[in-house]
């Protein structure tokens, strides 16, 4: 850091603000993870205390894993998240490319229509979606969830990606056209690698709400076969008795896959392979 632009008090101030925010943001997550390693008495006796040899207990994890189907729930969540993510990124990027690259009648109107979904929550249409899924026989399938999440993720993806696609050099695309590349090759080989950081951003924004969603799994796919992790964790949440050990253990485990996906994408966010293409 150069001394010309920063002074010691200002650095301390900035760090204090950032650290405070970090603590606030991480606090609930830490509490969940800490308590998942404690016995029931330990959780209720001192909820904020870290596990001690006396309160340390893996009962939550053994319950969750012993419950048998939890691995299956994880698999469902992962299939739904990854498949929806794939379709959101594929269709979102293609629509964004078309909107930013080609001049056609109604281009901006189409862009507005595709972005409208950002402002209208998809949950408003739950009843209609349920009717649709019932008539098409898709209730209690993962396909239903993947379709809904793809629809839910597309507006933001199209909106963000079309902004980034506009910044890809026209000369590069034209050079490809003169070299005889098809529009698909130009899109997949030239444009997509250059917008990879923004794709990663969209992936992160899209992935987390899907992984965490309880609403649509509960309504569209509540069967044992198709339960997702968030829905599965409800198993331990009774009307009169709640198995806190198991819930906290399930939640802690549920953080892991999404954390791994996030790490993968955030590496993409940082990597800059774009230099040298133009200028």
């Amino acid at each position: 850091m150069s001394t010309a632009t920063s002074s010691l008090p200002r650095t301390i101030g900035a760090h204090a603000v950032l650290l405070t925010y970090t603590v606030i943001a991480l606090f609930p997550v830490i509490i969940v993870i800490m308590n998942s390693f404690k016995s029931r008495a330990g959780i209720f006796g001192a909820p904020l205390a870290p596990p001690t040899p006396k309160t340390f207990d893996l009962i939550g994890y053994t319950t969750v894993i012993g419950q048998g189907d939890f691995i299956h729930y994880f698999q469902n969540s992962l299939v739904v998240t990854v498949a929806s993510l794939f379709f959101v990124l594929l269709f979102g990027a293609m629509a964004a490319f078309a909107l930013s690259e080609y001049r056609f009648r109604g281009n901006s109107l189409m862009g507005l229509y595709l972005a409208l979904g950002i402002m209208i929550p998809i949950r408003l249409a739950t009843v209609a979606i349920l009717q649709l899924m019932v008539t098409s026989g898709l209730v209690n399938t993962l396909t239903a969830l993947i379709l809904v999440y793809t629809a839910q993720g597309l507006p933001l993806a199209v909106f963000i990606l079309s902004e980034f696609m506009k910044q890809v050099s026209d000369d590069l695309k034209n050079a490809g056209r003169i070299d005889g590349l098809s529009e698909y090759t130009i899109f997949f080989r030239l444009v997509l690698p250059l917008v990879r950081p923004s794709m990663a951003t969209v992936a992160v924004f899209t992935m987390i709400p899907i992984w965490n969603d309880l609403w649509f799994p509960l309504i569209l796919a509540p069967s044992e076969e198709t339960k997702t992790v968030t829905l599965g964790a409800q198993l331990f949440l009774g009307q009169f008795v709640t198995n806190w050990n198991a819930i906290l253990a399930a939640l802690s485990l549920a953080i892991m896959p999404v954390l791994i996906l996030y790490v993968i994408f955030s590496r993409q966010l940082i990597r800059g392979i774009t230099s040298g293409a133009v200028k």
């Binding site: 050079a175 056209r177 003169i178 070299d179 590349l181 392979i273 774009t274 040298g276």
Partner: protein, 332 residues
């Protein structure tokens, strides 16, 4: 091979007419430069020739074949872009070979052509590198190499030197001139820099507001410009324009180039005060505020010492004074 005919090409983006009917004939082996101020339509015209933009009406004929509806890759052209536009994920060798590979050329032939082009542009040491590992000048040479290996009927250059620094610009300009001499190919070159136009062209096309103002060789444009716009655009420093009425002339405007004025401390046609002097070593540019002619530029070869505020007399060379009518056209 390599002739180009443009017949009454018009291009409009919505209600904005960018090209207003362009007619042009380029014979085989010619180096033609399109020059004009920003927004005059020169790049659009190049894109229409390349097939990257469709013209609203008119025909583009390359080598006797109407290519107005042919995609860019099938027109037998190659293009060099201002921003180089190299494929960032490919090595220099693959960047140059991609077009041929797409066209289904045998690998041995691709290697042979890359070999010739890279030795011509001294790119051999860099063939395995990616664009990110090259300097600006090297990148532009790769972009030129990519055009050369295609052995096109027509080379198109879209302001290829604008992103290079001044020293590199002169070098690359020289390389392009040598390339043209060696390949004897037809080249079309777009620039807004009249120095590039004067130094490279066999034929200059001066464009303004979507219309061709004049076509001619560099010296033809310099010595006998057709109108006020061409007279002002070609030549540096710019030609002086003086209101004819103030000089008691019948012409609307009198034009005289800075190098066709002489100065004297005692007597001359136009009395003026020195506003500023630019000493360039080989020549000196004087800015004079004249009583009759207003602010004019005088270019004197060699060193000339003049302090701001001094009084000098400027005299135009009557044989090299241009007279323009009310419509901007030159009066014979």
């Amino acid at each position: 091979m390599g002739s180009l005919n443009i017949e009454n090409v018009k291009k409009a983006f919505g209600p904005v007419e960018v090209l207003k009917g362009i007619n042009l004939e380029v014979t085989d082996g010619e180096f033609v430069v399109f020059v004009g101020p920003s927004g005059c339509g020169k790049s659009t015209l190049l894109r229409v020739i390349a097939g990257l933009e469709d013209s609203t009406s008119g025909r583009v004929v390359i080598d006797g074949a109407d290519v107005s509806a042919t995609p860019p890759a099938k027109r037998g052209i190659a293009m060099v872009f201002q921003t180089y536009a190299l494929y960032p994920h490919l090595t220099v060798k693959n960047n140059m070979g991609l077009g041929l590979k797409q066209a289904g050329t045998p690998a041995a032939e691709i290697d042979r052509r890359i070999g010739i082009a890279s030795s011509m542009l001294s790119l051999e040491p860099y063939l395995a590198r990616r664009p990110a590992e090259l300097s600006g000048g090297q990148r532009q040479r790769v972009a030129i190499g990519r055009a050369v290996v295609r052995e096109p009927k027509l080379f198109l250059f879209d302001e290829p030197l604008s992103n290079l620094d001044a020293a590199l610009r002169v070098n690359t300009r020289l390389e392009i001139a040598q390339l043209h001499r060696r390949l004897k190919a037809t080249m079309i070159y777009v620039t807004h820099d009249q120095v590039e136009a004067m130094t490279l062209a066999d034929k200059i096309v001066v464009l303004n507001a979507g219309k061709i103002e004049q076509i001619g060789g560099p010296m033809e444009l310099y010595n006998s410009p057709a109108n006020e716009f061409v007279a002002g655009f070609i030549g540096s420093p710019k030609m002086n324009f003086v209101d004819g009425a103030r000089l008691g002339e019948t012409a609307k405007t009198i034009g005289v180039r800075p190098e066709h004025l002489t100065v004297d401390a005692k007597s001359g046609a136009w009395k003026g005060t020195v506003v500023h002097a630019e000493h360039l070593g080989a020549d000196t540019n004087l800015y004079l505020d004249c009583e009759k002619a207003g602010l004019i530029t005088v270019r004197i070869f060699g060193v000339y010492n003049a302090e701001p505020g001094a009084t000098l007399y400027a005299t135009p060379d009557p044989a090299r004074t241009y007279r323009f009518g009310a419509d901007g056209k030159v009066l014979k």
